[in-house]
Chain length 207, copies 2
């Protein structure tokens, strides 16, 4: 399999981490949407990352759709999203807060640093940042509840896609919106991310 995209993209990084956690070997094509858009379009005509080329040449796009297929391939022992029921809903809910925060961090980052200076709109970046904080706050609540219940992980007693995506989101926000969180903000979420980032699949993809 070939994963297209760089770890700076949190959508790409969550796939890279998941492939590694599921013990699936893969190659990388480190293409960036800013500079390699024509090459990316060869995998995904929309020009977005990640894309995953399967051994038979089929190309999957969009991180959630890619992860859905990887879970199916991994089987019950290694899948990262529970197959059904309340635990599946809990993982998907936390991933929705995390990817929502990612989307809005991209928006705020783009507004403040990538648009030409004369067409920036600070209020829009601020609104995005508020939504980032709202999404992270939901992750913090879940991390605190888990810790209070004696678990190291957000859902149940093992690492799931919720932990992967929460960690990747926090790292991304700290990279592109430095200073959005002040010291001591969201301690349970930071503790969770520290535990994850100590594991090789996270450590080696840290952007």
């Amino acid at each position: 399999m070939i994963l297209v995209g760089r770890n700076l993209s949190p959508y790409t990084r969550r796939v890279a981490v998941s492939l590694d956690l599921m013990e699936m070997p893969f190659e990388r094509r480190e293409l960036a949407t800013a500079t390699d858009v024509e090459a990316i379009k060869g995998y995904n005509p929309l020009g977005r990352v990640p894309a995953l080329e399967l051994p038979d040449g089929e190309v999957l796009i969009e991180s959630a759709a890619i992860l859905d297929h990887l879970d199916e391939m991994a089987g019950p022992g290694l899948r990262l999203t529970p197959v059904a029921g309340p635990a599946r809903r809990a993982v998907m809910r936390l991933c929705a807060f995390a990817t929502g925060a990612m989307d809005k961090a991209v928006q705020a980052y783009y507004e403040e640093t990538r648009r030409p200076e004369d067409v920036r709109w600070p209020a829009y970046a601020a609104r995005g940042d508020d939504q980032v904080r709202a999404g992270l706050s939901e992750l913090e609540k879940a991390a605190r509840t888990a810790a209070d219940g004696g678990s190291d992980w957000l859902v149940g007693d093992r690492l799931t896609q919720a932990d992967v995506t929460a960690t990747v989101t926090l790292d991304f926000v700290n990279t592109v919106r430095p200073g959005l969180m002040t010291d001591g903000d969201m301690p349970a979420l930071h503790a969770l991310a520290e535990r994850c980032n100590a594991l090789p699949p996270f450590a080696k993809t840290r952007p």
Copy 2:
């Protein structure tokens, strides 16, 4: 169940259509992100629609996560995304092109009509429109292949979430980016949308 959001949001409309196709009764709260953001935050702290309140008070967010739960509840006869295998990948792939086009249509629409006039950047709207066309082109290809194979539907021989999301996306693009497609553009996709929009779940939610 209570569905939060208006049909003008294609993410909300695809959930509304799916609930109806799955024969699940629901109430509506017609809240708009532009004017009712505080009320929406009561359901989803991120302030985004759709949200779906389940009978026990649990609230699901993000259309893909909501649809995943509805498929599980609906069971094999009524689910709109196949449970596994190549057909599931095909539906998810087409949904990814459709929701990617939705995302980019929102971006172009926002850039050209919702931002203050002095901070608009026409090149950004144009780039979004290119991505919308790229996503719709993939849907057109799939619709043409299906029609050539004698099927009325994008994947297999029955209506799936791919048909729902493709139709909702096309209607949304035609609403917020009128003129993006010229007469006769993407005829197979238009024919598919016409077939879907003739069905009551689509007809009654058409914005």
